[in-house]
Amino acid sequence: MRTFVTAPWRAGVAATAASLVLGLAACSGGSSSSSPSSSGTAAGSAAGGSGSTFVVWDPYPQFDATSAWWKLVDSCGASAGVKVKHTAFDTTDLTNKALLAAQQGNSPDILIVDNPVVSTLAEAGALTTTEETKADVSSFSPNLLAAGQSGGKTYGVPIGANTLALYYNKKVLSAAGVDAASVKDWASLNAALAKVKAAGKKGITFSAIGTEEGSFQFLPWFWGSGANLTKLDSPEAVAALTLWTDWVKQGLAPNSVINNTQTTSWQEFASGDYAFGENGTWQIANAKKSGLDWGVIPIPAMKGGNAPAPTGGEFVTMPVQKDTAKYPVATKVLACLTSGDNALTTDTTLSYIGASAAVQTKQSANPDLSVWVDAVKAAKGRTSDDLGIKYPKISEPMWGAFQAALSGSKAPQAALAAAAAAAASALQ
């Protein structure tokens, strides 16, 4: 029977195997480099100074040319005497696109990126400092500006900020006899969750997924315990992780938090069964549409007061150009996008809180936003405290630790000890 397995057939299999393996190589090779196509076309024509095309990249694919945001960018370009070529990228895609563009010397004139990425791009030497470009940073809140600063230099300005707070469901809380205003620290929050559970409802949902998103959600509790990112296994850090772990163990938070993104966590909260949901400024519009009777309180620190939550939101940066004569125009556009009424328009469009005291004061008048203005004032950037590119090397072991503890494979203390060791070796 076997003899009909002939040589040509074998050769065919060998060739197939070889080409498939090469195909695999091509796929994984994509992990690195090579394709300059999209960045090339987007930035290729931006050679000249004012008068020629001026390239802007942002991570807001939800907006198109008809949106208020694009019109603002166009008008800022026009007032600086340039025509804007505007491209929107997915936010995770943009970091790599920006690095590749920098490598190939065709960076956009203005690059708007997620704040923790600023220090990565600055480390790559891809961004100008505001000292070089003479951009005015004096009006921005120092706690927000800090995410774009490292080694005493500033690499961009915040366009606005968002952060995390606790959404609560008034119906669930009142059925359980809990007053949201009584939640002032972890003990009172735990007491509230226990009452909610006793009343047959669900306690709190959050996102503890094993990515940066999970670290973002863990930080208010981590910092709220008094822990510091430079010491992942401090007793305070263990207290923060124990808080999360106990919630899941005691059924006060669902097991699904381990795999929740902030979007799926929001869907759980929007189901109406949960008393609390940890989520961001960007959900305000969804909350209004949800039909829930909802409110927002700041995330409490362990011993009372507001925990510092991490800031989200982008920075407007000016990538390094071969032709430095382009900087004055870019500086004008940057100032136009981030100053005064324009900033308020942008932040309203993006559901952000302003990055300057002037905008924040105007937004405080809106009762929907006043809690968030306070939360942003207490917030801090993940790369602040001069951590810069050390932050990603700490964040990854940190999310490993809460994943291990929440899934029960390690106790909080052991999980954080392992994370501290991993962070230490990554930082060497």
Partner: protein, 279 residues
């Protein structure tokens, strides 16, 4: 053709090897001047505590996916060989998983396997079984992604094996039947050996496809909780793109190891096919 091969196969492969033997930081990636580091990236990857679980998970994921996809696909192919009313329609229905975009099927699986609101746990609850934390417990997460991957892989095996079966002449079966072979014997002694070349190519294709599966795992569990469903592909992605600070060197090193794994498997296969002919 040569230009195409060079641009889309040879260059990326060489570039990947180049990345894996240099000490790239984000700075040297942009500014150039990454120092040659030999096998340092490989050493770092192999001594990383994630390496053991990732390698084991890759092997377990690949082998169990292959075995179940092939076994179920073959059983269905044999089943559909008997023509019965609506067999064509039914067979077409089995192709649905293949036609769905992976993001859709993976998200649907993640949804169905959700601990608290998933339909699977709801059904288990109805029959009195405690909820299983499919995606969020280290014991189950790998099994869950394997189940989803098997479901997605069955149609491919079914289609290829079915057409392989069609190519076996009916006379052989008739001759065996006349010689007194029962159905079971006819399958193992006639169908299975005659199907061998097709089975072999199906398994080889399956091996390479499965080794590089990334999307299903990334969408369903992100490789978690912890490293419990991390394979070499998801780990490579996480290193290169998954955090705020890309580590291209180690990421490329992992994907090179993966290529090596596929090559070794391919070569072993070709050798065993060769021996078979000589036997």
């Amino acid at each position: 053709m040569t230009v195409y091969l060079a641009a889309f196969y040879v260059y990326p492969l060489l570039r990947n090897i180049d990345l894996s033997v240099h000490n790239y930081t984000v700075r040297s990636f942009v500014q150039g001047g990454a120092s040659f580091s030999g096998l340092d990236n490989f050493r770092a990857v192999v001594s990383n505590p994630t390496f053991g679980p990732a390698l084991t998970n890759t092997v377990v994921f690949t082998l169990s996916s292959l075995v179940f996809q092939f076994a179920i696909g073959l059983a269905l192919a044999v089943f559909f060989q008997q023509h019965f009313p609506l067999s064509g329609t039914l067979r077409a229905l089995f192709l649905v998983p293949w036609l769905l975009p992976l993001i859709v099927s993976s998200s649907t699986w993640a949804w169905m396997l959700n601990s608290d609101s998933g339909v699977v746990n709801y059904v288990l609850h109805l029959v009195g079984v405690e909820p299983v934390h499919w995606l969020t417990s280290p014991q189950w997460s790998l099994i869950s992604v394997i189940i989803a991957n098997v479901w997605i892989g069955i149609p491919f095996n079914l289609v290829v094996l079915y057409s392989g079966l069609q190519a076996i002449p009916a006379e052989v079966h008739e001759a065996a039947a006349i010689d007194g072979a029962n159905g079971w014997q006819r399958f193992w002694r006639v169908t299975f050996p005659l199907l061998r070349p097709v089975s072999a190519i199906t398994l080889l294709l399956g091996l390479v496809y499965t080794l590089k599966v990334f999307d299903i795992i990334w969408i369903m569990t992100k490789g978690g909780p912890g490293d419990s469903s991390t394979t070499l592909t998801t780990w490579s992605y996480r290193k290169s793109f998954g955090s705020l600070l890309p580590q291209f060197g180690p990421g490329a090193a992992i994907s090179n190891l993966l290529i090596l794994l596929a090559l070794v498997a391919g070569l072993l296969y070709v050798r065993s096919a060769g021996k078979e002919v000589d036997a």
